[in-house]
Symmetry: C2
Subunit: 216 residues, 2 copies
């Protein structure tokens, strides 16, 4: 994705997001980042008085908004949410594969690098993961999962996504991610099959949430 049309602030955020995805927070040299964004150091501190950490928070927020928007599109566009979820996992796998196993989840590495002292970074990450889980829970409900189980399953889907990308990255092969995703989807399909069949939905609309059964 080109960044010539972006403002200096946006170029900085973009360069930081990309660096977080490839090397994580501690692996980022500020000089290299400024060179990539074509921005002198003064400009960084003009836009981000908090320096590298404040820029990382802005990059995490921008990444989270991007992921949320793509999940919202998935939820809105597909009549059948489970294949949509499968497509989302396949897309992440393909991106990692195409990048020579360098570009995984842009939130994951920095998430593991933080300590409790990194309050602002952790808060931005926690909010990002909250938003992703909430959208996945909606998607699972639309697929026919009982509302009471959707939150836990959404946390499991996020976990599977992150941990599967991690295994594929070090293996230098998409196989562990493909296997984990296939196993997850098979279990989710069975979870949905336990519920009554979904009512037909108009193409282009997400399935409405259905009345929940009283017991699991």
């Amino acid at each position: 994705m080109g960044s010539d049309h972006l403002s200096t602030r946006d170029r900085l955020v973009h360069a930081m997001a990309r660096a977080l995805q490839q090397r994580g927070y501690h692996g980022i040299g500020l000089a290299e980042l400024l060179a990539e964004a074509g921005a002198p150091k003064g400009v960084l501190y003009h836009h981000f008085p908090g320096g590298k950490q404040a820029l990382a928070v802005a990059a995490i927020e921008a990444t989270a908004a991007h992921i949320a928007a793509s999940l919202d599109r998935l939820i809105a566009a597909r009549a059948d949410p489970l294949p949509a979820l499968q497509g989302w996992l396949a897309l992440a796998q393909a991106q990692l594969d195409r990048s020579g196993f360098e570009r995984g989840c842009p939130l994951a590495t920095v998430a593991l690098e933080t300590t409790a002292a990194d309050t602002a970074v952790r808060a931005a990450l926690a909010q990002a993961f909250d938003g992703i889980r909430a959208r996945l829970a909606l998607l699972l409900c639309a697929a026919g999962v009982a509302e009471a189980r959707a939150g836990g399953l959404a946390a499991l889907v996020v976990a599977a996504y992150e941990g599967a990308l991690m295994q594929a990255r070090v293996a230098g092969s998409a196989a562990p991610m493909a296997e984990a995703a296939e196993a997850l989807l098979a279990l989710l399909r069975r979870e949905v099959d336990r519920s009554p069949p979904a009512p037909p939905v108009a193409p282009g609309l997400a399935a409405p949430s259905r009345p929940q059964r009283g017991s699991r």
Copy 2:
């Protein structure tokens, strides 16, 4: 865990393993690490001519051996493998919680920090994850999962473990991990329930693998 009785080499490996768990590879200052291990710089290069990276490989191998041994004990000691797996997840969760959300999986952060150029580190990590998946597949077979599905489910369990710890870490709360683990265990229990009931096993022995059904 004290390290007074360890050799200098072991103290270095121990300090590196601990640092990888808390801050990842890039976040480690060599001076700080040497101070923690009580070792001068010359001693590091005596034991590890490849320096920081070679020490990281040794730490990853030691960590992998430790995890493999603990999984082998789980497989050998429990008559009922799924509660054993649940206990394993709960233990990781408790360790993260007790450490103020600083000590997650000792392999995870460095796994995400590596690029394809970090050949030796990635090879050690890939081997570690292979060994963990193989043991979890054995454990799942002992629980009654069909052999053909055990590999994929093992990759999913590893993924869920890693991704759930990640979510708990940034949330500063065990809740996302507890929810993901509960959802995973419920799905695995249902997977096992599809198989015929396990034959009784002698206490202290893992359940033998059972004849597999022809189809999934």
